[in-house]
């Protein structure tokens, strides 16, 4: 179990809005588990404004006893620290407010009769102007750095999901949520373009909870962001949804959207989908929204490419296994229909010829009998070879009879419990057969077991195959080509295999296979 602690840094809604702590993740989860994020309550906008006003005054007042030694420049310099703090919490707008307050506080504290500030003194004027300029610049820089840090943190969180090959749906949800939390928008959605001219929502996020249902499918066409992006494969912007048209335009207006930006998700050079960030308010969209959104579409594209690569790899493995099985089946069938039948026919013809021998050719009769016996022996060997290549009983009788045959042939007594009556898809039957066959072989060779329990049952569309012995244990599934081959076969079908073999406590192999292989 992986315990993960994630602190989400505050985000900024607009240049003048407050910093809001998005939340703290105290999710205790496994590597493949869903992302669980506990959000802290957001600070209200007034708090940052209060700090912007109170902060510089408090700093200035606390430095009052040192006024004569620090001088105006020293006090203003210390006030810059308050400006930095306000910029971190409230952004550039709050920082500028703090600069103005700091300017006024400094001017008042040092004005006659409390101080020596004189409007005609070039040093004092320069100090005040420098304070305003430096404070403003610091506010802007801190704001930009913070925003950059937030963006990088958000992108890193999504990228981490991609790197640990989280399910595509989880990555998509994270993309829309992180982009929505970070950018000055109210709703985000990620949609996939379908080959039939529709677009399907694969993830969505909303600041007010009114997000678009995942899986909803709408026809492209008209004037709207999804259609514009699909036609151009380039980012698109609509400052007003008033003149949108088409089914998507209607849906957007009905959901209260007023403006938005869409960026294409390009996977391996082809347009896969679109990430849309939209606003429900009248405020103007940020000018750099497309660029900031594009960072998220790049990660989404990587997630899609990874998922497609994994699917291609799995399909490739499945094809390799299926091709190998087909080849083995064909060789067994060729042996049965060709070589074995010809040898049998020759053996029968030989015996027919033998039956015509006159009694005086007794020696020849003995010789022919020896040849006939040799032919029968060859046939027996060939039958064993053919069975090893592919078990004919599996195709003829299905999994139950085939496993009974394995149990009968096992040198270690087998308790067989097969609770699957109907025939299963051939790849599943073949996989289950080889799992039991290979495990029984290993048990006989290495386990020193007195009994093996073999069970097969179907539960909710999953076929469970278990083989458990009471032997010595200590089997290493990472070693031994047999178990590795089984793992490849099982995973190629979209299943999972688990081997437990504690020393001295027997070996247990449990496999889950989808009853409908991918």
């Amino acid at each position: 179990m992986l315990v993960r602690l994630t602190v989400l840094i505050s985000y900024r809604q607009t240049m003048s809005a407050l910093r809001r702590p998005v939340g703290v993740s105290l999710g205790k989860r496994s590597a493949g588990g869903p992302r669980r994020v506990l959000r802290l309550p957001r600070r209200n906008r007034a708090a940052a404004r209060v700090l912007a006003v109170v902060g510089p005054i408090v700093v200035a007042l606390s430095l009052l006893p040192f006024r004569s030694s620090l001088g105006l420049a020293g006090v203003l310099f210390c006030t810059l620290l308050a400006v930095v703090a306000v910029a971190l919490i409230g952004g550039v707008g709050a920082a500028l407010t703090a600069v103005v307050v700091g300017f006024l506080a400094g001017a008042l504290l040092f004005a006659h009769p409390y101080g020596s500030l004189h409007p005609d003194s070039p040093v004092d004027v320069v100090a005040l102007i420098a304070f305003v300029v430096v404070g403003g610049v610091i506010g802007i820089l801190v704001d930009d750095l913070t925003r950059l840090g937030e963006e990088q943190a958000a992108l890193r969180r999504v990228a981490t999901l991609v790197a640990r090959t989280a399910p595509a749906g989880e990555v998509f949800a994270a993309v829309t949520e992180e982009a929505g939390q970070l950018l000055p928008v109210d709703r985000t959605s990620l949609s996939r373009y379908e080959s039939d001219g529709t677009v399907t929502v694969v993830a969505s996020w909303s600041r007010d909870g009114g997000h678009i249902p995942v899986g909803s499918r709408t026809t492209l066409g008209g004037k709207n962001l999804s259609t514009l992006v699909s036609e151009t494969s380039r980012p698109a912007r609509m400052e007003s949804y008033a003149d949108t048209s088409g089914a998507l335009g209607t849906v957007s207006r009905e959901r209260g959207l007023r403006s938005g930006v869409g960026t294409p998700v390009i996977v391996a050079g082809r347009l896969w989908g679109v990430l849309i960030a939209a606003s429900t308010s009248e405020r103007r969209l940020a000018s750099n929204l497309e660029a900031r959104l594009a960072d998220f579409t790049d990660i989404a594209a990587t997630a899609v490419a990874n998922a497609e690569n994994r699917a291609d790899l799995a399909a490739s493995r499945a094809r390799i296994v299926a091709t190998a099985d087909d080849t083995r089946r064909r060789i067994e069938r060729d042996l049965h229909d060709g070589t074995q039948q010809r040898l049998v026919s020759l053996a029968l013809a030989l015996r027919a010829a033998q039956s015509m021998l006159p009694p005086e050719l007794g020696e020849l009769d003995v010789e022919l009998s020896r040849v006939a016996e040799g032919l029968t022996s060859v046939l027996d060997e060939l039958r064993e070879t053919a069975r090893g290549i592919h078990p004919a009983i599996l195709a003829e009788g299905g999994l139950g009879p085939a496993l009974k045959t394995l149990a009968r042939r096992s040198p270690v007594p087998v308790v067989l419990d097969v609770r699957v009556d109907a025939r299963l898809p051939e790849p599943i039957e073949v996989a289950a057969y080889y799992i039991v066959s290979e495990t029984l072989t290993n048990t006989a060779k290495h386990a020193h077991a007195s009994i093996v329990h073999v069970g097969v049952e179907g539960i909710d569309g999953v076929i469970h195959v278990s083989v458990r012995d009471d032997g010595a244990g200590g089997a290493d599934s990472a070693r031994g080509s047999g178990l590795i081959g089984l793992r490849d076969r099982v995973e190629a079908l979209g299943g999972a295999i688990e081997v437990e073999s504690p020393l001295g406590a027997g070996t247990s192999v449990h496999v889950e296979l989808p009853s409908a292989p991918r």
């Binding site: 049965h336 229909d337 074995q340 039948q341 010809r342 040898l343 049998v344 026919s345 020759l346 053996a347 029968l348 013809a349 015996r351 027919a352 039956s355 015509m356 032919l375 029968t376 046939l379 039958r383 069975r387 078990p391 004919a392 009983i393 003829e396 009788g397 009879p401 009974k404 045959t405 009968r408 042939r409």
Partner: protein, 123 residues
Amino acid sequence: MALRVLIVDDNGAFLDAARVLLEREGLSVIGVASTGAEALRRAKELSPDVLLVDITLGRESGIDLTRRLIQDGRCKGSPVILISTHSEADFADLIAASHAAGFVPKSELSAEAIRRIVDGRSP
């Protein structure tokens, strides 16, 4: 009177060799069939004393065919003997479930083996 035999197998060379051998050993092979449909038809036409059915008839199942022959009365009570190059042990459960009178490995096919099963089945 010689036992009248119908052989059902999809391999022509085997049918020829089996016919020659069994007739030399005193049986009468009154017909052969290479598919399930042909076997059902010929069983009804010829009313053989015994039917030899290969377990694997190309893409058809000789075991399913045996079940049909027995269940729908086409063989009129005549015994059906399964034959195969496969091992009897591998197919033991299916052979038992088919209601066939017995099993003979193809390589050990003989009039004597057939008579033994038929006689063993007689009351």
